[in-house]
């Protein structure tokens, strides 16, 4: 009510987050989220952008609310960019 994401999903979280940000927030495919570039990690920056768009707490982390939003059925058009 509503049921929290299943814990066994946790193994898929990074993939879910990355593909969501690639599909809807213009995260360049093939980017290397694990390498810290100058300034903030691009994936974290994109995650914050997504959290801001949905009015979630901007943590830059895939917290429960963020994952719950990412799992919602939605439109395939990106939220930003073309």
């Amino acid at each position: 009510f509503p049921v929290a994401p299943e814990t066994e999903d946790e193994g898929k979280t990074p993939q879910l987050v990355e593909s969501y940000l690639q599909n809807f927030y213009d995260l360049q495919r093939g980017s290397h989220p694990h390498l810290r570039s100058h300034g903030e990690n691009r994936l974290v920056a994109k995650l914050k952008e997504m959290q801001s768009f949905f009015g979630l707490q901007v943590t830059g982390k895939p917290d429960a609310d963020t994952l719950e939003m990412m799992k919602k059925p939605r439109c395939g058009v990106p939220d930003i960019g073309q």
Binding site: F1, P2, N23, F24, F53, F54, G55, Q57, M69, K72, P73, R74, C75, G76, V77, D79, G81, Q82
Partner: protein, 367 residues
């Protein structure tokens, strides 16, 4: 609302559409109707018109597609991405693609085709995604009963900024998404539920959990798809772990978190006379087992154990509760009753029989 980058728009107001294929999950006539109704969402608020064509290229080509359908945006199977559309322009511009693998319906089961196509047509006309959670152009799917659907004001403002106002004599307006810290926020009804407080407003409910600082905004339909919007009164019977919700002359029971079967039922079952057409507000006093129903300037008292109205009612609200005026909403918590009248909230002590505090309606939201 957000325009699509580059502000693309159709140069004509008289657009054409064509339905290229159908899903086997719905009757053809229902698909036609869902798409026709989705187009009217936008034509009702702008000078745009949509004419259906067959056997030739249309501005907006609507089709059901499966996985990779050669537009560089493959669908992903059930759930996830439900559909997508392309901004105004020649060729694929304006076209709507619907993921064939979704459970398409014309009601609240699966995914409602009307709601999804209406959203995609917003893209076809030049709108991008809105961050207003109540907007039709919000990217996440949420169900609203098509019969109750009203295009939200955010979407009306967006599309009219592109194509101008409607030619109708009276300009259409739409619902505005409530914001918890809006000082002008008033409520249709309020109830507690297992320690939380639910504030109903239109098709929304603001949910306040005592342990969380922020307030959650949801559609009523997200939790209770068969409930209508505009709940007029609600109260919790803590002993029975259920809440009762009222609209016009009907009421529903939610037991735990699920709507009990066999509802709605007429409010007259509770003992109201036929002259009562709706209930404005209600609360139940856990310590006495008495429930109070407020209708216009009077109130009734119901005995939850006897399951009947107490004798000697209705009585005048002002005679027993003081100058609280008409009651929009009320709830009982920790021995006090909170009455809401417009943007004013009164804290009433039923033991001392007097008002012991006055606050803003939004005082519960930590603004």
């Amino acid at each position: 609302y957000v325009f699509t980058a580059g502000n693309p728009k159709w140069k004509r107001n008289n657009l054409t559409y064509r339905i290229l294929n159908y899903t086997p999950k719905m009757r053809k006539a229902d698909v036609d109707e869902a798409i026709r109704k989705a187009l009217s969402v936008w034509s009702n608020v702008t000078p745009l018109t949509f004419q259906r064509v067959e056997d030739k290229e249309a501005d907006i080509m609507i089709s059901f597609a499966y996985r990779d359908h050669r537009d560089n945006s493959p669908f992903d199977g059930p759930n996830g991405q439900l559909a997508h559309a392309f901004q105004p322009g020649e060729g694929i511009g304006g076209d709507v693609h619907i993921d064939e693998e979704e459970a398409w319906t014309k009601d609240g089961r699966g995914y409602n085709l009307f709601i999804v196509v209406a959203h995609e047509l917003g893209h076809s006309l030049g709108l991008s995604h809105s961050s207003d959670p109540g907007a039709l152009m919000y990217p996440a799917y949420s169900y609203t009963d098509p019969n109750e659907f009203l295009l939200p004001q955010d979407d009306i403002d967006g599309i009219q900024a592109i194509y101008g106002k409607s030619n109708a004599a009276v300009q259409p307006t739409g619902p505005i998404t409530p914001e918890a810290c809006d000082p002008n926020l008033t409520f249709d009804s309020i109830t507690t539920l297992r320690g939380e407080i639910f504030f109903f407003k239109g098709r929304y409910m603001l949910r306040k959990h005592p342990a969380r600082t922020e307030t959650e905004l949801n559609f009523i339909s997200l939790f209770w798809p068969t409930l209508p919007s505009g709940i007029q009164a609600a109260y919790e019977n803590i002993e029975k772990d259920e809440i009762l919700l009222f609209k016009e002359d009907k009421y529903w029971v939610v037991r735990g978190y699920d709507i009990a079967p066999g509802y709605p039922k007429p409010i007259y079952r509770l003992g109201f006379p036929k002259t009562v057409k709706r209930v404005n507000a209600a609360y139940s006093d856990e310590t006495t087992g008495k429930t109070y129903f407020f209708v216009a300037d009077r109130y009734w008292r119901y005995d939850e154990k006897k399951k009947s109205m107490d004798h000697g009612y209705p009585r005048k609200i002002v005679s027993d509760f003081g100058k609280i005026g008409r009651v929009d909403a009320a709830f009982w918590k920790d021995g006090y009753v909170y009455f809401f009248h417009g943007t004013t909230q009164f804290k009433f002590d039923p033991r001392a029989k007097q008002i012991v505090g006055q606050m803003e309606s939004i005082s519960w939201f930590n603004c």
